[in-house]
């Protein structure tokens, strides 16, 4: 069992909701990322999703776009991101780290090169926003051969048949996109999320489902998490990275994550 799958199975066994937190690597500068990752864990994050910046983040809202632009402005590359995760791993061997980005950056490094380097750096899996399972064959094979998970996304528009197909192709967890839209929007409808996930749950086996997009605080996290194995929080944390002075970032992130953790732990 991979570190990611093991972590989620352990949480489920203890009846604890998973909290996955997203920040963009290299945002606002290269030195911010590793302390920020530790700060997320200190606040109660179970999984870290680390955004790989891309020039054309077509599924992201203004917050994550801005984070990506800040990271690219200081020259962050995928090699740099791997180095940041390796540095994080030196002090944290347990928290799963999943890279999230767009395909071209991984393609450019080469799937086999990337997977080898990712395994060495202590990365546990990837989420590729613009890679539906039909197109994922080569990348998935390379990921599998290095015991890395391929987390796939499902959306409200995904048909039931396709939902089951994607669940069969995914590993680690299934990422349910809570609404039709881009990251960080205000369209979250916890009831609709709940109805859909309840309808789909029987076909999913043991695969955990985490819900992301539009979850910004304890209340929205708790409202959604009661229907899922956990939640993903991103844009509000990226805003903190961009708006707060460098030295204050870790304390602010920890406080922000702790609020959400506290709300989840009431479930």
């Amino acid at each position: 069992m991979t570190r990611l799958a093991g972590r989620l199975a352990g949480l489920r066994g203890r009846g604890r909701k998973a909290l996955s937190t997203f920040i963009t690597a290299g945002d606002p500068d290269a030195t911010a990322t590793v302390p920020a990752m530790h700060a997320l864990v200190a606040g109660g994050a179970d999984i870290i999703e680390l955004g790989v910046p891309f020039s054309d983040p077509e599924a992201d809202g203004p917050a994550v776009q801005a984070g990506s632009e800040r990271a690219l402005a200081n020259g962050t590359t995928l090699h740099d991101v791997l180095g940041m995760v390796a540095a994080f791993r030196a002090a944290d061997a347990d928290t799963p780290v999943v890279l999230m980005g767009y395909l071209n950056v991984f393609l450019k490094m080469g799937y086999e090169n990337f997977c080898g380097a990712a395994g060495e750096a202590g990365i546990d899996g990837v989420i590729v926003v613009n890679l539906p399972p039909e197109e994922a064959g080569d990348f998935k094979a390379a990921l599998c051969s290095h015991d890395l998970d391929l987390v796939l996304l499902v959306a409200p528009t995904t048909t039931s048949e396709r939902f089951r197909y994607i669940a069969g192709e995914a590993s680690g967890f299934l990422y349910y996109v809570s609404y039709k839209g881009i990251t960080g929007a205000e369209h979250l409808d916890a009831r609709a999320v709940g109805e859909r996930l309840q309808a789909m749950r029987p076909g999913l086996g043991d695969l955990p489902v985490l819900v992301g997009f539009g979850i910004k605080d304890g209340a929205s996290a708790a409202a959604v998490a009661r229907h899922a194995d956990g939640v993903v929080v991103g844009s509000v944390l990226v805003n903190t990275m961009g708006n707060v002075g460098g030295s204050e970032i870790p304390a602010r992130l920890t406080a922000q994550v702790r609020d959400i953790r506290t709300a989840l732990d009431t479930l």
Binding site: D56, P57, L72, L107, V129, R162, I182
Partner: protein, 406 residues
């Protein structure tokens, strides 16, 4: 002559692949809409009623067929092969773009979508989209980079007059690629009531296929017109390539005619060796951008790089996947000409024939003039004159340091 044992060209496959290119690299939220569009398109492709309506629209609203014009003075100027111009500039709204928007608007109507969005670079596709939206009474929003808004202000005003909202895009390089990102973000959010009219043979399957098919009227007419005028097929087809819709529209009906050479002309900008250009087929590598695998201009980390061309419509770091396929299998050749060469061709065609070409089309004219000079006068060359140049007079005047109307 074609190899009689070779099956006719058929692409894409059911996954939307042109060889290794194309496909569907999009956020999951859009997959259902793309499936729905693919199914609908399959239905209407086989529906004589739809095709008859489309043909009638192209005739009465767009003004087709467009002439295949024998450019005698241009031929004399080049001093070689006989040059014909396929006059897509004479279409309603002044470019080939409307062939596609008329067809896609009919698809939108069939799907019951009440709102249309589009991206635009030079503004020609935006105008063509706003035009069909006005005609059908559909809501229309057009995404356009701030840099393009500045250099194509006539078209911006045309879109507004037509009732469309032009939404400035200030992210990234503020040009066509960023407008396309923003249109994708809009579509993912409003996918239930909105149809996204992509303007080129780019994007996720089925767009490269259906835009190609709607634009193929250019090549079909050219074939018949050339046979009527000359009793035979042309020797060479030349068209500019940004995303590549006018080129694919001209080329595709000739794909199995092996004796017909095809050359796509990319924007060389300040020159390929200078780095500032928009010629992914000449200087890019295979990658994934805007929903398909194709040649892209990116750096060693896979970040898409800023492009440059004097023509907004060619200022794009990707290209339609079918062109990528044709480049690799050698069915078409892809070259580039610089801003300076395109501007010179703009002036030559304007003065020699009284036809002012779009700066995009001027790239094709520039390369074809040089090539015609290298060919015997028995050869026939067809240039796709994809659009008219009225929209570009501000740009040309600025280069001449002239204030229009000043």
């Amino acid at each position: 002559m074609p190899d009689v044992n070779r099956p006719p060209y058929h692409a894409p496959d059911e996954r939307g692949r042109f060889g290794d290119f194309g496909g569907r690299f999009v956020a999951e939220t859009l997959m259902h809409a793309l499936d729905e569009l693919t199914r609908l398109y399959e239905t209407v492709s086989a529906d004589p009623g739809f095709q008859a309506t489309l043909e009638a629209e192209l005739k009465s609203f767009v003004g087709r067929p467009t002439p295949l014009y024998r450019a005698d003075r241009l031929t004399a100027h080049a001093g070689g092969a006989r040059i014909y111009l396929k006059r897509e500039d004479l279409n309603h709204t002044g470019a080939h773009k409307i062939n596609n928007t008329v067809g896609q608007a009919m698809l939108a109507e069939r799907m019951g979508k009440t709102r249309i969005i589009a991206e635009t670079g030079a503004g020609q596709h935006g105008v063509a989209t706003a035009t069909v939206a006005a005609r059908l009474g559909l809501q229309c929003q057009v995404y356009m980079g701030e840099e393009d808004i500045a250099r194509q202000r006539v078209n911006v005003y045309r879109m507004k007059l037509l009732g469309a909202d032009v939404i400035p895009v200030s992210s990234g390089s503020k040009t066509l690629k960023d407008a396309m990102n923003e249109a994708m973000r809009d579509w993912v959010t409003h996918v239930d009531d909105t149809h996204y009219i992509i303007g080129s043979v780019a994007g996720p399957h089925p767009y490269p296929m259906l835009v190609r098919d709607f634009q193929s009227v250019i090549g079909k007419e050219t074939k018949a017109q050339c046979i009527e005028a000359e009793g035979r097929l042309p020797d060479l087809l030349v068209a500019c390539v940004g995303g590549g819709s006018n080129a694919m529209g001209l080329f595709h009906p000739f794909v199995d005619d092996d004796a017909v050479d095809m050359v796509g002309v990319e924007a060389g900008g300040e020159g390929l060796d200078q780095g500032r250009h928009a010629a992914p087929l000449n200087a890019g590598t295979p990658g994934v951008l805007h929903g398909s695998r194709t040649y892209v201009m990116d750096d060693t980390d896979g970040q898409i790089v800023a492009t440059h061309s004097v023509s907004a419509g060619l200022d794009y770091p990707g290209v339609g996947p079918e062109h990528a396929y044709w480049k690799d299998m050698g069915r078409a050749r892809y070259v580039s000409v610089t801003d300076t060469e395109a501007l010179a061709a703009f002036r030559i065609l304007t003065r020699e024939e009284g036809i002012m070409p779009a700066l995009e089309s001027s790239h094709a004219v520039a390369w074809a003039l040089a090539e015609a000079a290298r060919r015997p006068d028995s050869d026939l060359v067809v240039i796709n004159l994809s659009g008219r140049g009225d929209k570009d007079i501000d740009t040309v005047a600025a280069i001449d340091r002239i204030e229009v109307g000043g």
